[in-house]
Amino acid sequence: MTYKNEPCGSELNLYFDNAATSWPKPEEVYMAPERQMRQACGNPGRSGHTRTLDADRLLYETREAFAKLINVNDPARIVFTLNATDALNIAIKGCLKSGDHVLYTAMEHNSVLRPLGGLQRDGHITSTMIPCSSTGCPDLDFLESAYQDETRLLVINHASNVTGSIAPLEAMVKSAHNHGVMVLADAAQTAGSHVIDTASLGVDMIAFTGHKSLLGPTGTGGLYVRPGLDLKPLREGGTGSQSELDSHPESMPERLEAGTLNNAGLAGLLEGLKFIDTTGIETIQEQEKMIRSYLYKRLQELPGLKLYGPVSDEPAASIVSFTIDNTDCGEIGFILENNYGILCRTGLHCAPLAHKAIGTFPEGTVRLSPGYFTSTGDIDYLVNALKEITTLIQK
């Protein structure tokens, strides 16, 4: 079966907003949540009957599938969360202690900046931003000089949701570990579209979301925590186990999961993971690289467009941002949808420091994010639309 960028509802839509949430999804992703609710609707861990066991098995299989995708041996180290923001909050607030110092890059999303900002405002931590180049690359010399005795954590956005820039994770993890500092990677834009070899990277924590490149439903995500690292739970409550105790279970994954999980959503996520496994993560990465490269090259043909992020053939997540001088990016987005049925995202994309780094703050950019199912024909249509828009602007 092929999954095309098909019309949504009654109007023709071309979807260039996969960095916000992926669409379309594999057909099985749409069907699995309904099947889960109808046939395996027990509450995992809460009873011993067949439906509960089926729900438990589904969670286990999903954990195991994600562990396999990021090369983690023990699925107990994968914790399910609501999304990447939830995972990042659990990681940041679970590992930091009062008096700690934190390093983070300028490409971080508000899902990192706001939890860190809150802890700093409350006087618990201090932090230092690692500046990034105008193409979104972190300054590694600055990083080397930024460690303090109190530095406990380095947070790295694996790929920027503004420019698609890929952080040199391997070198940064090595640097941090040389200084005895833990690393939290935000893989919101790369999990499911890029090979992540956790075993070889040695990264301490990885946050991911289910609804972007993992092709699952919203409300799903997770956190990998390396063996030996015990985070303080952000939430405590029912797990169905050790119910006689008034303290939360310490063993993973229950340690960081309280309350009933999003079983229906996770059933969809499992189908997304199966699709990725069947297709091959390398194949997906190659396809997205080809499509981003094609998009970048075609956009370069248009006079008046200023492009941001890695150039055409450099490694990047499937994202290209652009601006047109003296033109409101929101207006460009509106015309793209209203006149051409093209859906994209404009503005600051919840990453204000990234826009400061690339020089587009506070206006923001028009962000185009094709996905695995985007065709070169879709891009040709988009480029023709932008050609007409730039011609109109120049008149």
Partner: protein, 91 residues
């Protein structure tokens, strides 16, 4: 009169992981609700033949599973079974 053996787990994760590992082997076992006469942190237990419990225990420990308890139950129809807790080190 019959005997069955049970393994209990600290959390559901380990119960399901045990099932996943043992499914790949030829072991005969069943995941069941924990009998009321056994105290367990997790509501699901593994029931097996008593002659198999030692090899099952070893397989699970080799896969880094956390196990909670080992029991032999003397079962007589629907009567409350007589429970004997087995010492992990004896197995």
């Amino acid at each position: 009169m019959a005997y069955s053996c049970y393994i209990t787990f600290p959390t559901t994760f380990f119960a399901i992981r045990a099932e996943s590992i043992l499914k790949k082997e030829s072991t005969i076992f069943k995941m069941v609700p924990v009998p009321r006469t056994i105290s367990s942190s997790c509501g699901t237990a593994l029931r097996c033949k008593c002659e198999d419990i030692n090899s099952i225990k070893n397989t699970l420990l080799q896969n880094d599973l956390e196990l909670e308890g080992f029991y032999r139950l003397k079962e007589e129809g629907l009567k409350t079974p007589i429970v004997e807790e087995l010492d992990l080190n004896d197995l």
